[in-house]
């Protein structure tokens, strides 16, 4: 089908793309706007970014987000990879049930996850803080890591592991020298995904964070609520760019298909 697409179709698609990206672009552009409340362009400035740098609460929130993000990523990365290995390489009873169970967190609304965890911590009288946030983030990231790593495992030539074994490598050595190097891009992609989701999460975090343990999204939410100045635009821009980079890297890693 080499016929060109009808004009109206292309125009419509272009309009949708614009709809998807224009608000963000506008947001980013206006983060450089030299005006406090107006949506009129008054000139280019880095003033708002400077203001961000002067705010200790921004740095605190960033620190919290990074600590939680890193911890949640490592834990969910390890746990998720183990689960993916089990699902890909072993036949076992109760497999379908487990798979179903694994995918429920993905469809469960964040509200529900957040509330239920709040109830748990309240019941245990466990103080809300970085630990509870990390626990919550791991809980919803595991399933995503499993999906990514599983996809990579399924794409791997299973004969590679058999070849290693017949050449004299036992299961552990095979895993170390053949499986893991092949799997690594998938694990990394899953980890990046987990980090991005953790870094960006608002709803669940808002329920399980205590005073003094605000993450960056919680801070931003507060700023939006108070309808503050273009600093919001500035911080949003930073978040967007960092996320975009992470996603790009993860995308490249998943595409890297070494030939067998």
């Amino acid at each position: 089908m080499n016929r060109p697409l009808p004009r109206w179709l292309v125009a419509m698609a272009a309009a949708v793309y614009l709809f998807l990206h224009l608000p963000i672009l506008v947001l980013m552009i206006f983060s450089f706007n030299d005006a406090k409340f107006s949506a009129e362009w008054r000139g280019f400035t880095l003033h708002w970014y400077q203001r961000l740098l002067e705010r200790p609460d921004v740095f605190r929130a960033l620190k919290v987000s990074l600590i939680v993000g890193a911890s949640a990523t490592v834990i969910s990365g390890v746990l998720g990879t183990l689960v993916a290995l089990a699902l890909a390489r072993h036949r076992f009873q109760g497999r379908r049930a487990f798979e179903g169970f694994l995918y429920v967190p993905i469809v469960t609304p964040e509200i529900v996850v957040g509330i239920s965890l709040l109830l748990l911590f309240a019941l245990l009288r466990f103080p809300l803080g970085l630990t509870t946030i990390t626990i919550a983030h791991v809980a919803f990231c595991i399933s995503f890591v499993v999906i990514v790593v599983l996809a990579r495992l399924k794409g791997m030539d299973q004969h590679l592991e058999e070849a290693a074994m017949i050449l004299g490598a036992d299961e552990i050595t095979t895993f170390r020298t053949v499986t893991l190097p092949q799997l690594w891009p998938g694990i990394l992609a899953g980890a990046l995904l987990a980090f991005t989701m953790s870094f960006d999460d608002f709803v669940i975090t808002s329920f399980v964070s205590g005073p003094g343990s605000s993450t960056l999204p919680i801070l931003v939410y507060g700023m939006v609520r108070k309808n503050v100045e273009p600093s919001i635009n500035a911080i949003s821009t930073i978040i967007l760019i960092v996320t975009a980079l992470l996603i790009y890297v993860a995308d490249r890693l998943v595409q890297d298909r070494s030939l067998a």
Binding site: D157, E162, L259
Partner: protein
């Protein structure tokens, strides 16, 4: 002086069974394979040949029976505990390791000293005709299919195994290169004295390369023998059909006073057949006759003593080396006769479609089939 002791088999399968769910992939298979043999497992997909190979490698554990390697029962030995090497269908080269590191992998597992490894890798690459200087540092992704195949071979052979398993290694290679590699594999087998166990669905390949062939069908060994035995004396209808081409006839056996056996159907004439174990008076028998053992004659000119059927020529097919003359015989269907092509332009066949003709063959060329 004759040696009365045969060499001990390097591989033995003793009543081995393996099922997956309800499917019997390997159904009571027993085989002996001798040192230095080029032994093929031949059959259509799903016949169990690959499963049999995997049982030998240790990737599957038999449900029943014994797998014995070099005299030892190894049912529960892991692949890395067995003294056996393997070449996989899609080569299974480690993509993140160079050619040299791939070939060295097995030696590294055995904790061979570095210097020895380097030397042996070089020799292995030369043995498969890959110039070490050029190829050692390349990555598998940079190689062609044929080159990857050779690396896989080098990787397996560098370990100097007593037994080498090959799982349809030439399947993904184009025809001309395949013929070349078949000859190379055969000569490696003879040079090294390593026992080759080769899985394939390509009967021509098996006939070309093997010392002995086990023809498999639905998990069982249909026939085991040399290429000549398999081709010239097929024992079952399956083997007669899977290997080469056959014409089939059937009827009831009856013994004559002269001691000869006849297979016939009432009102349709009878064929003389040589004595065979499956013949008992009145038994329903099938025989197979290969097209190249038959000839086309004028009905009146059939040589005496030969079996014959009479019909009319339906088609003549030009195949290059041979011509296939298809004769429609009333009551029997089409009979295919293979006639050598002596050059249709210079010495054309005197037959054409529509001619009345007789198809005749010697009684000794009847293959009485079992089962």
């Amino acid at each position: 002086m004759t040696h009365s002791v045969a060499p001990a088999p390097v591989v033995q399968l003793v009543h081995v069974c393996k099922s997956f769910g309800f499917i019997k992939a390997v159904d009571d298979v027993s085989l002996d394979i001798y040192p230095g043999e080029f032994f093929s497992l031949l059959g259509p997909s799903g016949c169990g040949k690959t499963t049999t190979l995997r049982l030998l490698a240790g990737f599957e554990v038999p449900d029943a029976g014994q797998v014995r390697l070099l005299g030892e029962t190894v049912n529960h030995k892991r692949p890395y505990e067995r003294q056996i090497s393997m070449v996989f269908q899609n080569y299974a080269l480690f993509p993140h390791l160079s050619v040299a590191r791939n070939v060295a992998f097995g030696l590294e597992q055995r904790k061979t000293p570095r210097a020895t490894i380097e030397e042996r890798v070089e020799r292995a690459l030369e043995m498969v005709r890959l110039e070490p200087d050029v190829f050692a540092q390349r990555m598998p992704g940079q190689l062609s299919g044929g080159q990857r195949q050779r690396v896989a071979l080098a990787r397996a052979l560098v370990l100097e195994p007593a037994i080498l398993l090959l799982d349809e290694p030439l399947g993904a290679i184009d025809l001309k290169l395949r013929k070349e590699m078949q000859l190379e594999l055969k000569s490696l087998n003879k040079e090294l004295g390593t026992t080759f166990i080769y899985v394939t669905h390509d009967q021509e390949e098996a006939l070309t390369m093997s010392d002995r062939i086990a023809v498999m069908d639905v998990g069982r060994v249909a026939q085991l023998g040399t290429p000549a035995e398999i081709y010239e004396n097929p024992r079952t209808a399956f083997v007669a059909e899977f290997i080469g081409q056959s014409n089939f006839f059937e009827g009831q056996a009856s013994k004559q006073e002269s001691g000869e056996w006849l297979i016939g159907r009432p009102g349709e004439g009878a064929f003389k057949v040589p004595q065979h174990a499956a013949l008992t008076e009145g038994a329903h028998v099938r025989i197979a006759v290969r097209p190249e053992w038959m000839d086309v004659w004028r009905p009146e000119a059939v040589p005496p003593g030969e079996n014959a059927v009479i019909g009319s020529i339906r088609d003549i097919i030009y195949l290059g080396e041979t011509m296939h003359v298809i004769v429609a015989v009333p009551g029997l269907g089409d009979v295919t006769v293979a006639v050598r092509n002596e050059g249709q332009l210079m010495k054309p066949l005197s037959w054409k479609a529509g001619d009345r003709a007789a198809v005749a063959w010697l009684p000794e060329d009847c293959q009485v089939l079992e089962g």
